[in-house]
Each structure stands twice: as C-alpha cells, then as structure tokens.
Amino acid sequence: MRLGHIFLGAVLVFLYTPILVLMAMGFNASPLYQLPFQFSTRWYGDLMGNEGLLTAGFNSIVLGVITALVATTLGTLAALALNRHSFRGRSLLQLLLLPPIAIPWLITGTAMLIFFFWTGIGRGMHALVIGHVALAVPYVVLVVGTGLKTIRTDLEEAAMSLGSTPVHAFFAVTLPLLFPSILGAALFAFAVSLDQFVVSYFLSSPGYVTLPVQIYSAIRKGFTPEINAISTLLLLGSMSVILIFARFARPQSPGASK
C-alpha cells in the first residue's frame, strides 16, 4: 500500500513536473529559462502577435474537435456492430482494427502520404481530417467496445419486453449507460489528433498547419517562450474540458444492476 503510493507519487511527479516547468517558464521574463524567476506576461503579448502559432493552435483545436466527432461516431457504430451483431468477417474486422495502434506513426504517416498522393487526395485540412480520423477510430472502437461489454444485453431485452422497439431500447438504456465510454473515447480521439505530429507533418500543406508542426518548424528556427505560452493555453484548455467532462460522466456508471 505504502509502496504503491510512492510509485504513484513518482509517476505523477515525472509526468507533471516538466509541464509545470513549461507553464512557469511561459511567465518568466528571460527567454533563456534564466533564474531568478521574474514574472512577466511578455510572451503572451508576443504570442498575440504571432499569427503563425495562433492560427496553428486554432487549426489543431478545430481538427481535434472534428476528429473527435467523426471518429467517435464511426467508432461507436463500429463497436456496436462488432459487439452486438454477428456478420460474415466480423472476427477478421475486429482483428484488423488493432494493429494500427501498434504500427509506428512514422510508417502510418508515410503510407498515408503515398496513398493520398497516389489517389489525388493530396494534402491539407481534408487530408488531415481523414488521416486523424483513421488514426483515432481504432482507439474509439477499443474504448467503446470495452464499455459495451460491461452492459448486459438482457437490459435491452428487458426494455423490449416492456414495449421498447430495439431503437428505443438503445436510446433509453444502452446509450445512457455507454455515455461515459463514448465521452472517454471522444477525449481519446481528440488527444490523438492534438498530439499527432508525424502524420500531421506529412499531411499538412503550407496553407494549413497544426500546432505541433508549427512548433517544430518554429523550434528549428530558434526557440522562443511564446511556445511555452501557447502550450500552456492549450494545456489549460484541454484539461478543463477533460475535467468538466469527467464531472459530467461520473454519476452514470455502466454495468449490470447488481
């Protein structure tokens, strides 16, 4: 028990310290991480003038939201089909969904670039949406599928015995119970998109760049704490979204009635 706490503490320290340092340095007047710490909002001011970073940040969020919506819808439907219906090729399909999670993104990205070039899809926002959705769907299927397994099918049967059509039973019983899993899957998909560098790097066009890609090219030219600033904003934004959703999802727990 004690040991567990220590490990957990260590993990949290290693996870959060760099992030906290990054956030703090966004408010440090020195551009070279020099101490003593001198509070300043200079980098935020500069950021407001940095069109490139701002646009890229905005692009990343929009792309993340679109990816989350599309991937969650598709992935949830796929999870339902895979778990609740039997059809030819089901196990094959189920099997095929998993390897992409393990394939290095560099390979996936290269393959997508070649494929998109070859089919004329090209690069740019539409290519990014397609690419990110394709990357996120397996995670959604996994998360929603796991949630679905904890919801007994006899709940829907009970609803039907009481007069629900299958569609009504789904919306009245399964969907509310599945909601936390779907929400979790959406956050996952959003995170996959927001985090994505390799695939985004290959698929973005000069006119449409995501934040990680923009940061990467900015760093190549020389690091400025504006990057800390936008990272901080982004972090705070996505963390508050996650916390709000986590609060929302809590009162509903999936599972059997026992």
């Binding site: 007994r152 009481l162 629900s164």
Partner: protein, 347 residues
Amino acid sequence: MTEVHIRSIAKSFGPVPVLHDITTQFAPGSFTSLLGPSGSGKTTLLRIVAGFVTPDRGAVTIGTRDVTAVPVWGRNIGMMFQSYALFPHMSVARNIAFGLERRGIRGAEARALVDQALEMVRLTGFGARSPKELSGGQQQRVALARALVIKPSVLLLDEPLSALDRRLRQDMQVELLRIQRETGLTTIFVTHDQEEALTLSDRIAILDRGRIVQSGKPAEIYERPQTRFAAEFLGDSNFLTGTVEQGGVRLADGTLVQSAHPLPAPGAKATLAIRPEKLQVSTTAPNRLTARIVTVIYAGPVLSYLLETLDGTRLKLFQANRDGTILAQGATITLGWSPEHAIPVAE
C-alpha cells in the same frame, strides 16, 4: 387471464436442433414450470413465447391472437430475468414506470400504478432508490413489479430465483405464488430445480433434449412418471428391470415383482420405478428384495441408505428420522413395497 398455445414449434440453431415439434397449452391463470436438464431447450422455448427467438416452424398464440410474427415489444408480456436486468441508471420508480411510459401512461396515473406495484411486492417507499442500493431479493421484487405493472397477458420467468440464497429463495417462492394467485396471471416458469417446480406449479412440463417428455400436475408426474427420465429427473428413483411374466416382472435373480399398474405384454422387457421413500424395512410386504447397506447418509429429518442386492443392483432407501434409530452400515435387510408403488416406465 389469458391462454397460451404453442403448436408444433421447432427450432434449430445452425445445424443443431434444439426443439422438436413442441405442442402444449398453458391454461388461463395457471402456473407452469418448464423443468429439464441444462441444454434441454427450456430457455429457448420461453424466449420463443416471449418473441426473442423466432421458431423455424409452428405457431404461438397468446389469448386469441396469433403472435408468431409479432415482435417482443408488441406482445405485452411480463418477463423476469435471472440477472434481474434492472436499468442501473434509473431509480426504482423509473424502472417500474418504464413500461407504463411506453404505453403512454405518465404523470399522476403512472405514479399511482407504480406505488401500487411497489406495495404489491412489499417495497413501499423504495421508489426513489437506485437499484444499486437494494439487496438481491429486493432487486428481484422490483423486477417483478416492473413486469407486473404493465398488466401483461403472460408472465415469463427464466430461473429468476437461482441467484438468491436458499432462505431468500424460499421467501420469494411464497411471494411469487401469492402474487401470481392475486393477479391470476398465466405464468411460465423455467427452472432446473425440481423442488421449486414441485412446490410452485399447477403443472410441470418436463423437457428432455428438445421434447416435452411428460406434463401434468406435480403429484401426477411424481407418482406416475411415464419414462425413466421423468422418474429420475423429478425426484429420486430405484429401477428394476426384467421380463414381464404372470402379471409381474421377473428380475434376473428370479424374484417376481408385482405391479398394480398395466404392464407391457408378457415376454417383453420392462422397467419398474420405485421411489426410495416408498420402500420400507419389511418381511411381510408383497414385494421384497434383500440388500446390504453400503452407505448411510444422515441428513437430519431424513436418513438415506445406499444398498446393494446380491446381484449388484443398487437401491436407495429414504426413511423419515422418526425415533433416531439408524440402521448399521454393512447390515443386510429386507426391503418391501406395495405393488401400487412399482411404476412401469418406458426406457
């Protein structure tokens, strides 16, 4: 009160036939148990009546309505599941009101019906709770209330009590029977607990490998089983096999066993079933066999003895523990029984 008719129902899952040509009838207001070993098709038959499974052949009629092509949600059935299947994200009251809502009953009228249903299952005041805050037995009652409140034409129960411990199960049996009598609902109850079937039912239908091998009143089946399977599955039984001769059955060791019941033609093979509690230690009964006591099982009110005759036939004897005397293991005793209790059964 509604009658349920099943006509020539057959069902296979893939190449495996699960039900063969089942025809039976559930009288209005009756309580029927479907009893049979695991895999005999009880659940499948119940789910065909419910509408979850479509039969390959045959018809289901509820009341005067042929429902074979009607989906579950159009059949107006009350169903209870082994796992209770309460909706975990709804309060007890909302669980019970679910079926009412589907029937367009809402507001004060629904609330009154929900309260009435809660009162019937003796859970008045539990409406605001979440199913998670109830014990297994209470959840089971809520499931029952939810099934009853819609005034179904037929109540279908698939081993609803098997998850409860013994005492609670007995309480629920009493409760279930009371409610079934009060409501007069035609009830079909799946179980593989023979004692439960005997105590609850007006009628028992015994299933074996997808066929109803015998159906009738509990006492009828128990006292007059028609097959070895029925005799063995409902209660315990001794079996003696031999050849029909002089109005009795001649066993291998030469003993002629009298039976008061019609036997096959002389010369034919016959099996007699004799209930272990119908045997007694006796040297004067018309039918007698000598056997040695191999095992003594002391079970409180009942003493069971496992015995073996000279030619190796195994027998069971149940005795009421009337005065605390226990027969000794290894003793050789003479068992006697009346011809009335030697029941010819088909193999």
